[in-house]
């Protein structure tokens, strides 16, 4: 690869960083101009979910662990930080550190338990733990979590630069920063020696054992790292939305992450990010669409499904699984393959390629 091409992500990053200074209207994609608080808020949420999906893919796409409980760690970062301020009266930075530390600790504890089972058993255990977390948050023990209502972040403990609609750009930059952090952390981890073991675990866990390595420890590292990244995401979410709500902990939140990753393409560098951004954007736009007059005037057969974003997303998910294995990130390769298959019709009777001895294909 050409050396200069390796740095192409710099260009979109700069674009992202200067977006708040732009008044470019983007009709169809966004309601207001690019730099308006409403647009920045939506883009920040998109980037946040793109980063969350990227962190989640560390488990799903890189290590082959299908966790159904990732929302728990997101919610722990979210509630941990919020309650650190509300209950412990910590300043924001300390509360954020507290929230992330709680998340990492919880991921370590629950990961060490759930990773004792493999395969689908692991999925179920993570789901059960996440459900326990969701129940706990909903039931509002001791009035701490605020139950269904959730709890707003205390304005007096937040830095003034992060408050108010005129400071949306600062929140937006934090979201960009979180995205860069996640992408860099995942990239670094995947290319570390541990990352190669993760790849081996994903392909065939037995063979990793045969090599004398214990997959358990490596999987736990992936689990904790991925959980901690989600915890940081929870902190960013708290800033963006100004409070913690129980929806963040529900199993739907994990399933949404799963949809994002699969939509974008598991195990690819940019796929989960792309999936997260698209899903979040589509979720908001579909919500608008559902309430729009265009839909309200349709006959019931069309109106009812179109008015349900979750229905559309569920159906879209099934369609992606069927028609687009490998997700959006795999699309260019599929198109190229289809094109070359059409142009270079393999003539029959060509001697079979000599197999290269022992190299796994």
């Amino acid at each position: 690869m050409h050396a200069a091409l390796r740095w192409w992500p710099i260009a979109p990053l700069i674009t992202l960083l200067v977006a708040p200074y732009s008044a470019l209207p983007v009709p169809g994609l966004l309601d207001g101009p690019l730099g308006s608080p409403g647009s920045l808020q939506l883009i920040a949420l998109c980037l946040l979910y793109g980063a969350l999906a990227t962190g989640y893919d560390l488990l799903l796409g890189r290590t082959g662990l299908l966790s159904f409980g990732h929302a728990l760690y997101f919610a722990t970062g979210l509630y941990g930080t919020d309650l650190g301020m509300l209950e412990l009266r910590l300043p924001f930075a300390a509360a954020a550190a507290f929230g992330v530390a709680c998340t990492a600790l919880l991921a370590l504890l629950l990961g060490s338990v759930s990773l004792r089972v493999t395969g689908i058993g692991f999925s179920m255990v993570t789901l059960a733990f996440a459900q326990a977390g969701a129940i706990l948050v909903q039931r509002n023990p001791g009035g701490v979590t605020g139950g269904e209502e959730g709890r707003s972040a205390p304005a007096e403990l937040l830095p003034s630069g992060l408050l108010g609609i005129e400071n949306t750009a600062n929140l937006y930059w934090i979201a960009v920063g979180y995205l860069v952090l996640t992408v860099a952390a995942v990239h670094w981890a995947v290319h570390s020696p541990a990352g190669r073991v993760w790849e081996g675990i994903k392909e065939n866990e037995r063979r990793v054992e045969v090599l004398g390595l214990r997959p358990y420890g490596y999987k736990l590292v992936a689990f904790v790292l991925s959980g901690a990244l989600a915890g940081v995401g929870g902190v960013v979410y708290l800033l963006l939305t100004g409070g913690a709500t129980p929806q963040a902990a529900g199993s739907d939140a994990t399933l949404a992450l799963l949809v994002m990753v699969v939509l974008g393409g598991t195990g690819t560098r940019w796929g989960p990010l792309l999936g997260g951004v698209l899903y979040t954007w589509a979720g908001h736009r579909l919500g608008d669409l559902a309430n729009s007059n265009a839909v309200a005037d349709l006959p019931a057969v069309l109106r009812v499904p179109l008015s349900q974003p979750l229905f559309l997303l569920g159906a879209l998910f099934v369609a992606v699984v069927y028609l687009l294995p490998g997700g959006l990130a795999g699309l260019p390769a599929r198109i190229r393959a289809a094109r070359s298959a059409r142009s270079v019709r393999t003539p029959t009777g060509v001697p079979a390629a000599r197999p290269t001895g022992g190299t796994p294909a």
Partner: protein, 258 residues
Amino acid sequence: MVIDGLHILHGVDFDVASAGVTALLGRNGAGKTTTVKAVMGLVPRTGSIRLSGAEISSLSTHLVVRHGIGYAPEDRGIFAGLTVAENLRLAEREVRGGAEAGEPNYALVHELFPELKARAGQLAGTLSGGQQQMVAIGRTLLNRNRLIIADEPTKGLAPKIVSEVAEVLARAAEAVPVLLVEQNLALVRRLAGTCAVLADGRTAHRGDTAELLADEEAARRLLGVGSRHPLAGGPRSSSTSSAASPAATPVVTTEVRP
């Protein structure tokens, strides 16, 4: 062919004699089990597999079996939680039209393996290795097959049981051709008239078993333990293998003539 990313099977080409036992030989990892799994459709494959003239290489496993193949796999494939009788009953094949096969031949199975009758109600998982192998072979004898494939039926068995199994195979081969994957060369010498030898995922030799085993040098080169020799001759590109197939599927050309 890639099995767990470890093994490649490429141009396998051999015929099974229309009567008696044909042995499929080769060192550990030569691709013998993969070859029979490819014949059974248990792994994806390309190439041509003909049974009494009928092309079966595109059929899924259960249809391959219904063409008349009895299969006793390497790990015996018995159902540990089912009784001996249930294991056998599962192998009964419904016959459509009733023109051919007829009733499952329990008389033959119980004559050859009286123990299976006595232990009909016992859970197969509690049987000894030899008894489990009897169940596995018994299942292939229950239906009237055109071919029986036995993958290392004597592996891990006591010498006395080995000769019992050999008796049964010899007897079965009187009625149905048998393709036998085997490491025990004494047994092969006794049972198999013809053989095919696999090495590095290709057919390295085909011919008369006695001749091959008499030629000490060839036997050591093809079957012997010790240092791995690069095989004489390049890769065979099998005559019917369909062109430039990606190395992910085994090319097996096999013919069983009636």
